[in-house]
Structure formats: structure tokens, C-alpha cells
Amino acid sequence: MRWTRTISVADTHCEGTPARIVVGGVMPPPGDSVKEQMMYLRDHDDSLRKFLLNEPRGAGISSCDLIVPPKDPAADAGYIIMETVEYPPMSGSNTISTATALIELGILRMEGDSGNFILESPAGLIHISARRDEDGALEITFTNQPAFVVALDHPLEVPGIGTIVVDVAYGGMFFAIADAPTLGFSVSPDEAKDIVATGMLITMAAIEQIDAHHPTEPEFHGVSISQIACPIEDVAGGKKSRNACVVQPGRIDRSPTGTGTCARLAVMRARNQIAVGESFENRSIIDTRFFGHVVRETEVGGLPAVIPTIAGRGWVSGLIQYGYDPSDPFPEGYRLDD
């Protein structure tokens, strides 16, 4: 054995969704901003993403993040999000996992049981608050970019199901949000395979039938994720719900989905189902929770929008040194889509 490359990784999960955070072993890529660095990796040096997310190292894992020194003088750290098929500009669970690694490994220091930080993501600066719970868990709250509604009760013809209505909203990605009980779901784990099948039918129909455009970011367009959401319930101090977001090519997000919860908050605000500042508890199919609320109302290119925050817990579940032996036939791993 000899390793020509050794990558230090914190294995984390955010409310059940795993993400691997690279904390050492690579030099920062060229670029004057984290966004430029992300674009450099995407266009010129995709080997780290493949090494970490392809098999054998990345079997079953869909997200990794590379921590880099920030380029913006206001930020405490930068991070580049890497997923199985792309480099997304922003992701809720990746932000929570990255902040968890930064704090739990002492790269950023909390004073006492809380701290405020600014992270530079490819999408821009993300404000973070970290808080240590009574039981020792670390809760990360981040403020997202504006979320807004594209359409409420949009009729969608879904092959094999019929015509249903969906809400279409943006929370960092475009979501088609469908009512779970109408489709016969209560969003429990034994429904997982059926939720994936239905969710993919809805996504495919939404891609064909719904024109979703970001008013100021022309490169962001098109529904890519379906959300099967239970009705809103009143609880002491606010509202709660339960949802499963089905990502392509057919997998349920284990966490309540950060960007999906933001999209839902935009819909709830547009329907006047939640007030500014009111708490929203959103549960995942494995019974983990995000707490969100609308910080304030705003607008994006003339569309009414909300600024949401999301809070969720992250844990370091392992510390890994990944290595590459030059006699190994898979320097960038391999993919097999069975």
C-alpha cells in the first residue's frame, strides 16, 4: 500500500442525511470567489467529486462538501457543495453538515454554547447560528435566499393517476408540492417505494407541463424535485407538517429537505397559513425535524417572496482518511446504475 493522495473527511449527517465534509488534503482551487472556485472544479478539475462520490468510496452517498478559506472578507469559511451529478449553488442539509464539521472539529470556535458565523457558499454569503442543546446536540440555523411561489393549485395531468393539483415554489430549487393524503400517503417509511414511484411521475409531469423560471437568475429554471406533503397542523407556538421530497432519479431525502421546507414556507405564506416569525416544524419520513420560519417578506424581480430560516441538527458520525493507491484501477471510482 502507498497513497498518492490522502483526503481528510468528516463523515456527518444532518437529521439523517449523510454528507462527507473534506477538511484537509487538497489545496484551494483557483478563483476570486467560492463561486469561481466551484466553477473551476466543475469545468476543469472534477476528480475530487468523482473520487468521493463514485463507487467504491461513495456508494450510497449523494453529497460531499469541500471546505476552503473564504474569499469574501466578511466570511469565516467557504464551502463548495458537490453532488452525484452537479455542483449546486446552495443546499440546506449540506450547509448544516458543513457548519457541523467546522464547529465540532474546532475549525471555527463557538464561545460557550452558541456562535454566529458567515459562510461563503457558491450562492453567496450564508448567515449561520450554532447552538449546543441541553443533550449535547449541535443545532445549526441558516438564513436562506428568498423563496417564492410560481403557482398555487396548478392542475397537473399525471399518467396513471389522473389530474391533481400541485403548488409550484422555489426555495433554492423548484418544487412541485402535492397533497399526501389525496394521493393516499401518510409519509411513513413503509410507503417509501410507492412515494418514490408517485413522486417521480409528478416530477416528470411537472417538467413537461409547468414553466418555472427564476425572475432574476435565468439559469435557474424547471421543476426538478417533487414534494409529497401532509396538511398543515396547528401546534403550540406555530404550525407543523410532514413531507418527503423525491429527488431524481428516484430517492427520498432522509432529512426534511432544507430548500423544500423553504419552498413550502413560501406557499404557506402566500396562502396566509403562517405569519411572519411563526414557527414551522417540518418532519421527514424518518421522523427527524427542521424548524423554519419566515424572517421577513421581500420580493424577487417583482414577485412576492419570503426570507426563510431553517434550523436542524448535525452530527459527526466518523472521521475518515481516504487514500488512493496508484495500483488501484479506479482513480476516480466507477459508476454502475443498477
Binding site: G16, P18, A59, G60, S317, G318, I320, P329, L336, D338
Partner: protein, 338 residues
């Protein structure tokens, strides 16, 4: 962050198939043999398997092994094999992964470029030879338990396909082996989903229509894996072929499959296509290979059998410390079958 449990793991792959090997952080379970220790874990203390193979740590990973001091005086190390749904007595790729970790981490010394040693598996003693190749790769060769044929050209009725002949044989597990070419396959990566669908149909039909029993081990019965195998070809050194093994509930083994290759060798020998001592090279769908040969003929409970020897390469892909924070809601992970 605090960890009340820290498990040290070598992340290994055998010809592309990942296997995690626990090298520290747990005490050996009670028992006078590795088999008894495996039974103890299976019946009384299943947490390590769940911790390593459930999500979030085990997403996408099918196998883990734990190294214990041997109980048998002739063995240098013992190992218990853990898979997603069971504790198998023996596995080829897991044996290669375990031996790779033992050698590459220096737990067992290697004198020069070749070393023989004996491992105690739950199935019994396994003779292993480790060999350092010219390019620095480590090849592990092991001698398996006897492999034998249950039936040649057994007519199998498969819904939607018709009646096809399959060979049924044992190489550590029972396999139904079908002719890939006759079913329209070349065993290429882009056929992966169709191979899984066909393989699962064959497995289900075999479970219903074929009685397979081990003549001396009544606990081992029933076909559980299907193999789609290409025709045998002559090479300058011997014979070669290409195959996929489809394990339940529908996944392709990334490596050429150790026990599956042994089952195929028993069939080839019975058909007079592979002589004792002749080299048989078996390729996987991701173009990795096992080099094998028949050591000798034998019999098992009156059934003619062969002793197969299998060699494949293993690489250390990473070193992991897995931890459990007591505030983490998933001490044994979780499963979600989507």
C-alpha cells in the same frame, strides 16, 4: 461532540466491491470458536452490524467484517462477516477485504513478496496466500470449501420469458446460473438495470421450482442468488468468462463474485470444460477479474465436488474512525427501503 463508542475501520475494496473491516474498538464476543462468536453476535448483540451497515454510515454498503483474535490454534486471525440482512459463514470478496486489511495495516506480517497464513472464518479455516504484484497491488488467494453441482440444464419456467435451462450449483451459496448470451446480454454496464430485473425473475422462479440442499449441512438450503454467465472462451493460459451475480433484493455484485465463481467452476468441471489445475479467469461487469483454478476433486456427502482456489486484488481505500454521539437519534442507524 462526544463519542461514547469509537470503531476503527479499514475501508477496502476487492476488485471494486467495497467491504469495511473493523480493526479496533470492540472486544471479542463470547464463544469458543469464531462460529460461536458469530452466533453470539447474531442472536444476542447485533448492534455493530446495524451501526456499520444501516444508514447513515452504511448507505450503499453491503458488507462489513470484524477481525478478532483466532480461537483455532492453526489460525493467525479470525473474522466475522456481516451483511445487510445476515451473517454469512463465508464470502470471497469479504475474505479478500479482510486479508487486505490484515496485511496492508501490518496486523499480520508479510515477509518478502509472498506470505501464506490461515484465517478462521465462521465456516472454518481458510488458507490464504498474499502476493505483492509488480505494480504494488496486493493479490489475495484463498482456498474455498468444496463446490458442487445440484443440477445441469434444469428447465426453469420464467414468467414473461418462457422456459430456459439453468445450472444449479453451490460455491458457498446456492446459485442458479443462466446463459447471459442466450438471454440477449453481453454483461455491459449499460445493461445493469435489465440484468437486475432478469436476475431477480430467475431467482424467484428458482426458489419456487428448484430444491437445493447441502448434503451435509442441513442449515444451508435454497437458491438465493442468480448468475448470468457468458459462454466460456479459450485463452493462452486456460479459460475465461464474464458474469454478473444478482443478490437480493436486486443488486449486482461489483466484483466477479467469489462464491459465484466457485459455483461456476463446479459446473464447468462437471461438463468437462475445466480441468483440475487449469486457470479460469472470471470477469465482472466493471471489468475486474478473479483468477481461479481447481485444486482437486473431492466429494461432499457422496456428491462429487471440487476444491476451488480464487485470487483477487484488494486495496485500502480509506481509514475510518466511526463514532456515536449520545445525542444522535440513530445509535444503530436506520433503514429506509426506497
Amino acid at each position: 461532540m462526544r463519542w461514547k463508542r469509537t470503531i476503527t475501520v479499514a475501508d477496502v475494496h476487492a476488485e471494486g466491491e467495497p467491504g469495511r473491516v473493523v480493526v479496533g474498538g470492540v472486544m471479542p464476543p463470547p464463544g469458543d470458536t469464531i462460529l460461536e462468536q458469530m452466533h453470539y453476535m447474531r442472536d444476542h448483540d447485533d448492534w455493530l452490524r446495524k451501526f456499520l451497515l444501516n444508514e447513515p454510515r452504511g448507505a450503499g454498503i453491503a458488507s462489513a467484517n470484524v477481525i478478532y483474535p483466532p480461537k483455532h490454534p492453526d489460525a493467525q486471525a479470525g473474522y466475522v462477516i456481516m451483511e445487510s440482512v445476515e451473517y454469512p459463514p463465508m464470502s470471497g470478496s469479504n475474505t479478500i477485504c479482510t486479508a487486505t486489511a490484515l496485511i496492508e495495516l501490518g496486523i499480520l506480517p508479510m515477509e518478502g513478496r509472498e506470505q501464506t497464513f490461515t484465517l478462521e472464518a465462521p465456516a472454518g479455516l481458510i488458507a490464504v496466500t498474499a502476493r505483492r504484484m509488480d505494480d504494488g497491488a496486493l493479490e489475495i488467494e484463498f482456498t474455498n470449501q468444496p463446490a458442487f453441482v445440484i443440477a445441469l440444464d434444469h428447465p426453469l419456467e420464467i414468467e414473461g420469458v418462457g422456459t430456459i435451462p439453468v445450472d444449479v450449483s453451490y460455491g458457498g451459496m446456492f446459485y442458479a446460473i443462466a446463459d447471459a448470451k442466450a438471454l440477449g446480454f453481453a454483461i455491459q454496464a449499460d445493461e445493469a438495470k435489465d440484468l437486475v430485473a432478469m436476475g431477480m425473475k430467475i431467482t424467484r422462479a428458482t426458489i419456487e421450482q428448484v430444491e437445493a440442499k447441502h448434503p451435509t449441512q442441513p442449515a444451508f438450503e435454497g437458491v438465493s442468488i442468480s448468475q448470468l454467465a457468458m459462454p466460456l472462451e479459450d485463452t493462452s493460459q486456460g479459460k475465461k468468462s464474464r458474469n454478473v451475480c444478482i443478490v437480493q433484493p436486486g443488486r449486482i455484485d461489483r466484483c466477479p463474485c467469489g462464491t459465484g465463481t466457485c459455483a461456476r467452476m463446479a459446473v464447468l468441471h462437471k461438463r468437462g470444460q475445466l480441468a483440475v489445475g487449469e486457470t479460469f479467469e472470471n470477469w465482472s461487469i466493471i471489468d475486474t477479474r478473479f483468477r481461479t483454478s481447481i485444486v482437486e476433486e473431492t466429494e461432499v456427502g457422496g456428491v462429487p465436488a471440487i476444491i476451488p482456489r480464487v485470487a483477487g486484488r484488494g486495496w485500502l481505500a480509506g481509514m475510518i474512525q466511526y463514532g456515536h454521539d449520545p445525542s444522535d437519534p440513530f445509535p444503530e442507524g436506520y433503514r429506509l427501503d426506497d
